[in-house]
């Protein structure tokens, strides 16, 4: 009967161990299970729905769990024209989301007001929320949304998992 040495190669577990940084591991888990908060406000929401349906299939990137409760969501997809009447409601929903949280401005209207240079439309949701990814298009194709989602995943990879993403919390603790 062979003796088991603590330094010997163990084929049973060697292939299952990965050495990495904590940040990288946390970000890897986060980026592959982004739960979107679908903030559908206009026609962009139709493309957002298409991105969630089987032909384009947003679940290939781990973001299929659309939650209609901000408290369970990670990324708010602002899809559509944000009117001034709606703007503070969007802000309020964003405020109810738990850290870490991200924002995708989907389409021309959410990014800049789009064609509505008007008294009634907020000229870009970035005036109220910190936007991570802007997606051009009027409306953008579902592929564009998926590309934006992948860009966001790449952005999440590079972020310090605690320091940056808990900025609001750390600030409130130190204050």
């Amino acid at each position: 009967m062979a003796e088991i040495s603590p330094v010997a190669y163990d084929s049973k577990i060697e292939g299952n161990i990965i050495f990495t940084q904590l940040d990288t591991a946390i970000n890897w888990m986060r980026k592959n299970s982004l739960w979107p908060m679908p903030m559908g406000l206009a026609c962009c929401a139709i493309e957002l729905m298409a991105a969630g349906a089987s032909r384009f299939d947003i679940s290939r990137f781990g973001a299929e769990v659309m939650r209609f409760s901000p408290r369970q969501s990670d990324v708010m997809i602002v899809a559509g024209t944000v009117t001034y009447k709606m703007a503070l409601a969007v802000k309020r929903i964003y405020d109810q989301m738990c850290e870490p949280k991200w924002v995708i401005a989907m389409g021309a209207c959410a990014s800049s007001g789009g064609m509505y240079r008007s008294y009634a439309v907020l000229q870009g949701i970035d005036q109220l929320l910190p936007v991570d990814v802007y997606i051009s298009g009027c409306p953008p194709r579902p592929e564009a949304l998926l590309e934006g989602l992948m860009r966001l995943q790449r952005k999440i990879e590079t972020e310090p998992s605690l320091g940056d993403q808990k900025r609001e919390l750390l600030k409130s603790l130190s204050a």
Binding site: K85, A87, L88, Y116, R117, S118, Y119
Partner: protein
């Protein structure tokens, strides 16, 4: 019944200051104080049982400045009738017709929201598109397209939109597309 009979019937009972026939459409310009009675008469006696639309016009620079337009339709005879009243800036109100046509409820709210014309007798005259407390009437001609800044903390805010040299408008003409294309007319 034909439309001429209906017009003659209204003319015999109420004062009609102007009668316009254009491409088969009949427009009667009537007295603002009598509009409720005229709409009531048209509905009860002449069979105009459907208020298609109620809207307003801002003839900025003219006096009286505003017009309110009532589009009536009779389902049985298939007749259309358009009634217009003038509203001056000094007396920004017109009698409500919500007791005759429930559909006028939201139409009158929209006229109030966009033009600032009040409707005494309306059961619930609140703004319908903009929020309560918004200080302007944005469809008036002297309101800039870009909007104006306003702020109601915790309710809503608005700011002027960047127009980059605009608004770009086209002019009605028979000139070529190149000459008609939208330009800044400021």
């Amino acid at each position: 019944m034909i439309i001429a009979d209906a017009v003659a019937s209204i003319e015999s009972k109420f004062s009609v200051s102007k009668k316009i026939e254009f491409r088969g459409e009949t427009t009667l310009v009537v007295n603002r104080a009598e509009i409720h009675e005229i709409v009531q008469y048209a509905k009860k006696e002449l069979g105009f049982n459907y208020l298609v639309d109620l809207s307003s016009v801002d003839n900025f620079g003219e006096e009286p400045r505003f017009e309110i337009v009532y589009e009536l339709y009779a389902f049985d005879s298939g007749l259309h009738l358009r009634l217009k009243i003038s509203v001056s800036e000094d007396e920004l109100e017109a009698p409500s017709v919500t007791d005759l046509f429930s559909t006028a409820n939201w139409h009158e709210r929209e006229v109030y929201d966009m033009m600032g014309i009040k409707f005494p007798g309306h059961p619930d005259l609140r703004r319908i598109l903009m929020w309560d407390g918004y200080p302007f009437f944005p469809l008036r001609k002297d309101f800039p397209l870009a909007g104006k800044a306003s702020d109601m903390p915790d309710v809503a805010f608005s700011a002027a939109a960047p127009l980059a040299g605009g608004p770009f408008v086209t002019l009605p003409s028979t000139a070529t597309t190149k000459d008609r294309e939208p330009r800044s007319r400021e």
